[in-house]
Chain length 563, copies 2
């Protein structure tokens, strides 16, 4: 059996990702690449986060009577107004969140951090918060990159963060029906550890896997890196228990294939804490694969590679699709080769002799019983070769897998070195993939370079579907003095290009605050009204995660005008 | 290529199914089986429907001003208050619908039948209906077996039926992204004819295929007989255009894998006409299979067969599952063997020698490229054999396929012969499948025999999922004088047993009026409130298909008491 138990790491450091002691610093090659690519004289680490002691936090606004009630519900030890705790929950891991906290601004930190121990405590906390008009931010791993856990007070007297860390148990496993139920605060490695002893896996490995929780997966419709094989979180979920201000609610059916009306499960999944708190869920699970088989192929260009991926999906045998399926564009491929310890010169001349001067690298991972996996890989190879692919052996894919959770550490170092870095993603049909790629890439590059300086964009397809694929953009520039404005400019330009291309504003990062202005363009005014009416039914006082998902009326108008 | 173009038949006859000229009357063997099984002296056709001229229809309540407005929208030729049209739309094809209409009762027929030609006409019709307080019943193929198109007037001045027959075009096909858009009034054979010329199929073949429409599929979350392979309608749909009293609404994303908030598409799918009128939709399509391979296997009993199906799903290779996968219990198997032209004696003695005295028949259909299909079938055979299966060759499966759309004709003849017949379905996890089967079967049999006489129940698994399977019950008895009461008694007993077993009240028949009292038990009071709040947002005056899906408050209370 393949081991899927992923390394447990402590909750993220206050100013960035995970446990900084585990970060692998950039080598001289990478620093040289940055200097050259961005035309920077200096990438020295001279913009570190402020000292922890220098972080500015406003006094807690939570009044003593409410605090007393909360303490009597959870126990005083699980209700904290301590500065450290509040700083740790002052935001998620979006670029605006990081820029703010690294600059020492935790003025919007929650007024208290509460860690409930069970459903009933959550229910009673919500009752208290309705009564005292306190906003509530559900908090799992705190890994949102779209402002999803920003503690916005809105019109309320105070805002608290509900940290779900204590609710992290495996509740039940049914090997016969291949389902398992968990409390929502369980993190990725905890899920895998719990399932592996029974021979199962959830197969859900987003880049945030080590920090993010099941509740967060479901609240944001997350996709994992192997979701091409195992399915996205919204395909794996069967039922969710939600505690709402209007009361507890179970959505979804234990029975497969119910036709009992609209699927309320799909209202709760993706609701981003705006309707209530996901406290537990039942998920489909899969047997641990006996074997993993890796493959890497090079294609003449991104377009040829995308066509190969489509053919794999359309022409391959049923069930042959790899569990992981990624394709980098020429820029990302060049960077991977240069920075990945490859013998770049040899590889480039080999590929050049094969007619690939701007190669696009595709990575594959097939999982399953050994013979079956080998057969799938062998048949896939025929399609990839016919589509112009050149096999490169397994190493690029194993190297990718080895570093697949370490990206977020890099961001912290880049910011410290004065390099602006951001990622965003979309998805579209095969028919529109090329145009969307070109338009979004162009928009990002233009916005990166709008104030002078040089920008860099690299892109990959991260997930493949019968009808289309995702596009994941990573981009860099010199960090401007007003980095928040810089980020808003670049991210705004990309978002508008996505909307104009008719693609989705988010493939797996969710909506949060950052994408909320664009939701109206995607689901329509009437769609927003329906979301609002559901919120009105479950959260009539509006305390649940205000400012997220549902755009404020003025924002919607702004979006229509395409600012 | 396999031909998927299914026979077009005219819209159903007023008193029953399809074109009675195409019905194949019961042979002497079947009549003998009925006499013996139900202990009936007489199954003569002495309870035919009344003469068409004897059907009772109330005068249309639609006032002239509203009628004039509707005529000016659609053209006078598409607004009918003619007796024939109103009788044709007086109900669907549920047992209560059939018993009512066969008895000559069309007193609740709609006050007019309107056939809109495009979205704008639908929109304007809804405006008129809101203004004049007229209830609206969307009507596709009219094949609901749960009262979904019953023209209930509710608190409104009149009720009209919107027959979608004129909106039946293929709008667009995208072979690269494998999607196609249709107007909602297109029927199953029309969909297949349109797609086949492009080399594609929707792969959606419910028993109602020849009559039912795409809009109806989506409004009811239908599953087709090959949905184990192609996916249910709710898995195939990408986007839906809905005309609601609050305005037009597009739900779903053209992009695969969007994480842009709750999935409003899943509110519209399954909404059964209570939120608005589905006027068009974009669906995933699949290449026409080059080959179909059939298989039938016999198992020692239903439980052993169900285990074999589960093992096929769990232990088979990725992608090996048959497109069609059915398993009959011992009673259904015995009836199939007896009535299906099999050499029953030989077969029974053969199976008995193999240790199968109460055999359970499983039917399989694999579709795809020839070599691939053969390999899937071969590997599946190993699993089935190891699970105690005895192969019977392809004939039982081809025979099933040949007659797979003819079941509804049989019902008309049985009622004419004084035989009560009904079907219902549920789904549950593998873990609960055996107990659910036993409990529902027992409840049906007891209710059938509650007034004396003999009942008969046969059951099959029609769809298989990783986490469980469906159960489809067909049952017969002597038709009592008060057949409506008889049906309510039996169906009620079955529904309560399903609820008590924790299974879903419907796997693919939908909710309609018949299952509405049980929806509260499945989705909870808060779930009902959420549905109501969505309806309030899209249909504030409540004109859309009143009395369907959402239980009346009193009904919910009744359900809680488990009457």
């Amino acid at each position: 059996m393949v081991s899927y138990v992923t390394e447990e790491i402590p909750p993220s450091v206050w100013y960035g990702w995970g446990d900084p002691a585990r970060a692998k610093p950039l080598g001289e090659g990478a620093l040289g690449f940055l200097r050259t690519t961005l035309g920077l004289a200096d990438v020295d680490p001279d913009r570190p986060p402020v000292e922890h002691s220098a972080v500015r936090v406003a006094p807690s606004r939570l009044a003593e009577p409410a605090l007393d009630e909360l303490r009597s519900i959870c126990g005083a030890g699980h209700v904290s107004t301590a500065r450290d705790e509040r700083i740790l929950h002052a935001g998620g891991k979006s670029t605006p969140d990081l820029l703010r906290i690294r600059g020492g601004d935790a003025l919007a930190a929650p007024d208290a951090v509460i860690a409930p121990g069970n459903d009933e405590q959550v229910r009673r906390i919500l009752e208290v918060c309705v009564r005292h008009r306190i906003a509530v931010v559900p908090f799992g791993g705190g890994t949102s990159v779209v402002g999803g856990v920003e503690p916005l007070r809105g019109p309320f007297t105070a805002v608290i963060t509900l940290d779900m860390r204590r609710m992290a148990a495996l509740l039940d496993i049914d090997p016969l029906s291949r389902t398992a139920s968990f409390e929502a605060g369980i993190r990725g490695p905890g899920i895998e550890a719990a399932l592996q002893s029974h021979g199962f896996t959830l197969g859900h490995f987003p880049q945030s896997h080590q920090e993010a929780t099941l509740g967060g997966y479901l609240a944001t419709r997350s996709a994992g890196q192997a979701s091409t094989g195992y399915g996205r979180s919204d395909a794996l979920v069967k039922t969710v228990h939600l505690e709402t201000p209007a009361g507890p609610m179970d959505v979804g059916s234990p029975s497969p294939g119910s036709a009992a009306g609209p699927r309320l499960l799909d209202l709760v999944v993706g609701s981003e804490g705006t309707l209530g708190v996901v406290t537990s869920a039942t998920m489909m699970i899969a047997p641990l694969p006996a074997h993993k088989s890796y493959g890497a192929w090079s294609f003449p260009d991104f377009e040829a590679g995308a066509t190969a991926l489509r053919l794999l999906e359309h022409e391959g045998r049923r069930g042959d699709m790899p569990h992981v399926c990624r394709l980098s564009d020429a820029d990302e491929t060049a960077a991977t080769f240069k920075l990945g310890g490859f013998k770049t010169g040899l590889l480039a001349s080999y590929l050049s002799r094969r007619g690939q001067s701007t190669p696009a690298l595709a990575l594959f991972l097939w999982e399953g019983p050994k013979a079956e996996t080998a057969a799938r890989k062998r048949r896939s190879a025929r399609i990839l070769r016919a589509a112009g692919g050149v096999p490169l052996g397994p190493m690029p894919a194993t190297a990718w897998e080895h570093g697949r959770f370490s990206g977020p550490y890099l961001r912290d170092e880049l910011l410290t070195r004065g390099v602006y870095v951001e990622t965003l993603e979309t998805a579209t049909t095969w028919t529109k993939l090329g145009a969307t790629y070109a338009a979004v890439r162009t928009a990002i590059l233009a916005a990166l370079e709008a104030r002078g300086g040089r920008g860099y964009v690299q892109t990959h397809v991260s997930h493949v579907y019968p009808d289309g694929a995702s596009l994941y953009f990573t981009f860099l520039g010199s960090l401007e003095d007003d980095a928040q404005a810089q980020n808003a400019r670049v991210k705004g330009a990309a978002s508008r290009a996505i909307v104009a291309a008719g693609a989705t504003i988010t493939h797996h990062h969710a909506v949060g605050t950052d994408h909320a202005p664009y939701l109206g363009a995607e689901i329509g005014e009437l769609g927003i009204e329906v979301l609002s009416s559901i919120k009105e039914a479950l959260d009539p006082s509006g305390i649940m995660n205000p400012g997220k998902l549902i755009p404020a009326p003025t924002n919607t108008a702004t979006t229509e005008e395409k600012p």
